[in-house]
Amino acid sequence: MVCCVASRSRTESTASPPPRGDDAHGDDARGDDAHGRAREASRAVCEATALSRSYAGASRPAVDGVTLNVRPGEVFGVLGRNGAGKTTLVRMLVGLLRPDTGRVLLDGTDVTARSAHAAVHLAYLPQRESALADMSVRTALETTGRLRGLPRAAARAQADDLVAELALAAIADDRVGRLSGGQRRLVGVATALAGERPLLVLDEPTTGLDLDARRTVWDALDRRRSGGAAVLLVTHNVLEAETVLDRVLVLHAGRPAALGTPGRLKERFGGLVRLDLAWRDEPAIDPAGLGGTVLRRGRRWTVRLPVAEAQDVLAGILNGPAYAALDDFGLAPPSLEDVLLACDSEEG
């Protein structure tokens, strides 16, 4: 079953920029002819080819042969477990880390060797941000605007606009270091928006935000997206990713495991649905008899099955002796989390 491309070897993903898992062309129904590829590449805000990076003393490369491109107006996600290589990949894309091999083009400019040039093309929100802690929110925004090249008056005006847009007025004069984690994250997003870069690289931008703040952030990002900016999002939040991502790259152990739109990746489950079973007591059934590989987390079982088979299994449980031990159940179409789990299990 499933979606994974890494088993098709690194050579394939490095030699041919979009790995076979990439349905970028298929989704657009424009085929994958050479002309289409060239046009696609020329439009990319960010194009990375065969990026690899190792750290001294590590048993395997942190990132190994990753190829991707991000188009204007797109929200592109990078998913993966802890240690999958997401942050290393992103740090190479934004010019903070030099790749061992491969190259990065931003707006068609090769920034691999001249990483300082990356900064005029993008804004980066890292997971941790301590440089602004001693400034007021307004000063942090204005300073960031100035350091992204805006004249003083324009930077000040933009800071005011961002304060209004992200509903920061109540804390605008407070020191960033004294804010709550969520408020600080919101300020971090605001600083990433200063200077209006065509590529916004955001590492967990909504972590710690409440629902309203999260909506405010996505509204602001949507406005940038409508204006042609691209968003490269690193996240663990697959539920949120499901609702905002146009395309997803799944990393496993530093290698590209899947690449495509969320819909296309889920399609690769071939009509499988997810049956979740939560047991109150030890059930009187053999998991091997359910017809698929059962993922067990304590008394929670998850199994992926064709629709009809899942219905039969569920009916058997509901009408049989195991029902007495059943606490809860759910039947759901596959999610990005399933994609992630499937890629992980395939990759071992």
Binding site: R91, V94, G95, L96, L97, R98, A116, A118, A119, V120, L122, A123, Y124, P126, Q127, R128, E129, S130, A131, L132, A133, D134, M135, S136, T139, A140, T143, T144, G145, R146, L147, R148, G149, L150, A154, A155, A157, Q158, D161, R175, G177, G195, E196
Partner: protein, 253 residues
């Protein structure tokens, strides 16, 4: 909204980083500035008790050392700790993804921390010349001496903060640097043990201190003062260049 596709020039970067770091004073740095000043004043009072009858040269050396140890305390020791903390907290990523020159960012930090030393320098110099009965005619040499020592010590501070990968190492380096400045700065050269005198002459940590000390005597050695200040400025520039390189290396680690 405003869009800029090129980075700011070096002066604008230095000014923006400088202004941004001034917030540090409001965030608790002010107390440390006070401590640095009080420490130097206390050293002056202590040494006044011990050496008030010493010759003019020794008294001038003590005052000069106390004044510029304020700069060393803040621009070397504190800046090293601050930059190490910024690095450990991921703060360098912020500057590393802005279209600014690393040297300008380092200079912005250095100029700000050197500025923090100004109140302490003025107070200690005024108190020192009065307490040790030194001529204040040539006290204006304090201005270039403070500038060059600010350059040197903050360059060393940036290097100490950005070079080591562990914040603890940066803190130790900053403390040891301050200790060295106090040792070489407050002990008059002719009172140092024999073996250390050549070392003191070779290491440019006390060039500014010697220049200011000479200016606080009735008969300053102007050629020596100019050479020492120029040597200190050159050494400081080298330290800043190395600190900028350390900054780039820190980003790629």
């Amino acid at each position: 909204m405003a869009v800029a596709r090129t980075g700011p020039g070096a002066p604008a970067t230095i000014a923006a980083v400088h202004t941004a770091q001034l917030g540090r004073a409001r965030a608790g740095g002010g107390a440390v500035v006070l401590v640095a000043t009080v420490q130097s004043l206390a050293i002056l009072v202590l040494l006044h008790g011990i050496g008030r009858t010493a010759g003019e040269g020794s008294r001038a050396a003590v005052v000069s050392g106390a004044v510029l140890s304020v700069v060393a305390f803040i621009a070397w020791n504190l800046l090293a700790q601050r930059l190490a903390a910024v690095r450990a907290g991921g703060g360098l990523d912020y500057f590393g993804t802005l279209p600014v020159r690393p040297a300008a960012v380092v200079l912005g930090f250095c100029s700000c921390y050197a500025t923090f030393a100004v109140p302490g320098i003025v107070l200690t110099a005024a108190a020192g010349t009065a307490l040790f009965s030194l001529p204040a005619t040539h006290l204006w040499v304090l201005v270039p001496a403070a500038l060059t020592s600010g350059l040197t010590y903050s360059g060393l501070g940036a290097l100490s903060g950005l070079g080591p990968s562990r914040p603890e190492t940066a803190a130790i380096t900053g403390q040891l640097g301050l200790t060295a400045v106090i040792f070489f700065g407050l002990i008059p050269p002719d009172s140092l043990p024999d073996g250390l005198a050549p070392f003191r002459a070779a290491v440019p940590l006390a060039y500014d201190i010697d220049a200011l000390a000479s200016a606080l005597t009735a008969d300053p050695d102007w050629t020596g003062i100019a050479l020492r200040l120029a040597g200190s400025a050159a050494f400081g520039a080298c330290c800043l260049a190395l600190a900028a390189r350390a900054y780039r290396n820190a980003l790629d680690s």
